[in-house]
């Protein structure tokens, strides 16, 4: 694998639309659940071990060659909130576009044909990792890291949080991110043998409920 390709894909500036999403942080800030660095860290840890683990497992399974349509259905089943499904598909479509231009591959072309309005972002992420010759654990790392880096950078904008504090949160979560990525790869290997039902199904009800409320706000900074 190319370590530099992993850096390209994991870079927050990779132009795939992530900047417009807060990963639930905007709803949590409004509800008073994120008020500073400490509560951001708690929020991120919760998201990492639930939505983050699910996303990382889907991504790793896609790298291992699981059927994208089955994975997409598995992602739907693990995403109760319709607003979050819409957001995940939008981001998946944007990632598909960016990746087809950066790592052209027949698999990504086929994905774009099969899901013209987008597949769930973690599934796409796994196929992009494949196109970039990355390993399952790389895709899992990207997904797990995104599950916390998104809320952290959004909170910098939402609360004018000191950016050094937000980055410190991410650094403290790094060992957890590594562990979640490893768990995700294990689960993904199981899913290849036993089917997608073996993928983790952790969920954070407040993330789902918050996303539904957020989608109905008239005034908001982030798309989700």
């Amino acid at each position: 694998m190319s370590r530099a390709a992993l850096l390209v894909l994991a870079d927050g500036r990779f132009p795939a639309g992530g900047h417009a999403h807060s990963g639930g942080a905007e709803a949590a800030v409004k509800a008073g659940r994120i008020t500073g660095a400490a509560s951001l860290e708690t929020f991120c840890r919760g998201r990492l071990h639930t939505a983050g683990l699910v996303a990382a497992s889907l991504a790793a399974a896609a790298v291992l060659g699981a059927d994208p349509a089955e994975l997409d259905a598995a992602a739907d089943a693990r995403t109760p909130s319709p607003a979050l499904r819409v957001a995940a598909r939008k981001l998946g479509r944007q990632l598909t576009r960016a990746a087809r231009a950066t790592w052209p591959s027949d698999e990504l072309d086929a994905l774009a044909r099969r899901f013209p309005k987008g597949a769930h972002q973690p599934v796409v992420l796994g196929l992009v990792a494949r196109a970039a010759a990355l390993e399952p654990v790389d895709a899992a790392h990207c997904a797990a890291y995104e599950s916390v880096s998104g809320p952290a950078s959004a909170t910098v904008r939402l609360l004018s949080l000191d950016p050094f504090d937000a980055t410190g949160v991410l650094a403290r979560l790094a060992p957890d991110v590594d562990r979640v990525a490893d768990q995700a790869v294990e689960a993904a290997r199981r899913a290849i043998d036993e089917g997608v039902d073996a993928l983790p199904a952790g969920s954070a009800p407040l993330l789902e409920i918050g996303a539904e409320a957020h989608a109905a706000w008239a005034v908001r900074l982030f798309a989700s």
């Binding site: 639309g17 900047h19 576009r97 027949d106 900074l221």
Partner: protein, 225 residues
């Protein structure tokens, strides 16, 4: 895992002039500039001026609401299915320059759903003087400033004022009330922009958006030539 070096499928479209089915896509013109300078008003006036002769659509990039899209809908400058709003995540310049994926999706969806289109106007959420559109998103850009923002803006320059394909100095009707010197603004703009065109307009005047509409028609003629 595999790395596909022999890939020769269709490119992912962004700046490509042809759509996947081979037809020519719409000309895309961006309108940028500071908040309140008159971008939405110019878009609305352009729609009214051009909608009889062209198939048109608009993409708005609001900062935290759907205000611009809602204004255009309320004013009924175009049927609702021809107006799309993109959410920009607190960073309007990112959505038009560094990460244009959401805007590309919006223009493509418009072409798929109400096309064929001749022209798509993409309005940026109001931003600072450095915000410019990516060439992957638009074919030409208009930078809109107004006389009330201070008559030293053309002199200060910046990427929008200096490099936009058309600079519009809007609200000339207000110049006497805010003490802006129009001749000086025009001369400074000329000095910054060499041969690039500048239009001074008041949307409150009889001629309104006429000169800008003529510029758009000329761009479109060049695009379809």
């Amino acid at each position: 895992m595999h790395l596909d070096h022999s890939h020769d499928g269709p490119r992912a479209v962004s700046a490509d002039a042809r759509r996947p089915d081979g037809s020519r896509r719409a000309l895309r013109i961006g309108l940028g500039g500071p908040v309140g300078s008159g971008k939405t008003a110019t878009v609305a006036a352009l729609c009214r001026a051009l909608r009889e002769e062209l198939s048109l659509a608009v993409v708005t990039n609001d900062i935290y609401t759907r205000e611009d899209a809602d204004f255009l809908l309320r004013e009924a400058v175009l049927p609702p299915e021809r107006i799309a709003a993109v959410e920009t995540g607190a960073c309007p310049h990112t959505a038009i320059r560094d990460d244009i994926s959401a805007n590309l999706e919006a223009v493509e969806d418009l072409e798929d759903e109400v096309g064929p289109l001749d022209l798509i106007l993409v309005e940026s959420g109001g931003d600072n003087l450095t915000a410019t559109f990516s060439k992957g998103l638009v074919d030409a850009q208009i930078f809109v400033i107004d006389v009330a923002g201070g008559d030293d803006i053309p002199r200060k320059g910046g990427p929008g004022v200096t490099t936009a394909d058309l600079l519009v100095v809007n609200k000339t009707d207000l110049a006497p009330y805010v003490g802006s010197d129009l001749a000086r603004m025009a001369a400074d703009a000329k000095a910054q922009r060499a041969e690039l065109p500048v239009v001074l307009q008041s949307l409150r005047s009889e001629s309104g958006v006429r000169e800008v509409a003529a510029w758009v028609r000329a761009r479109l003629a060049a695009w379809t030539a």
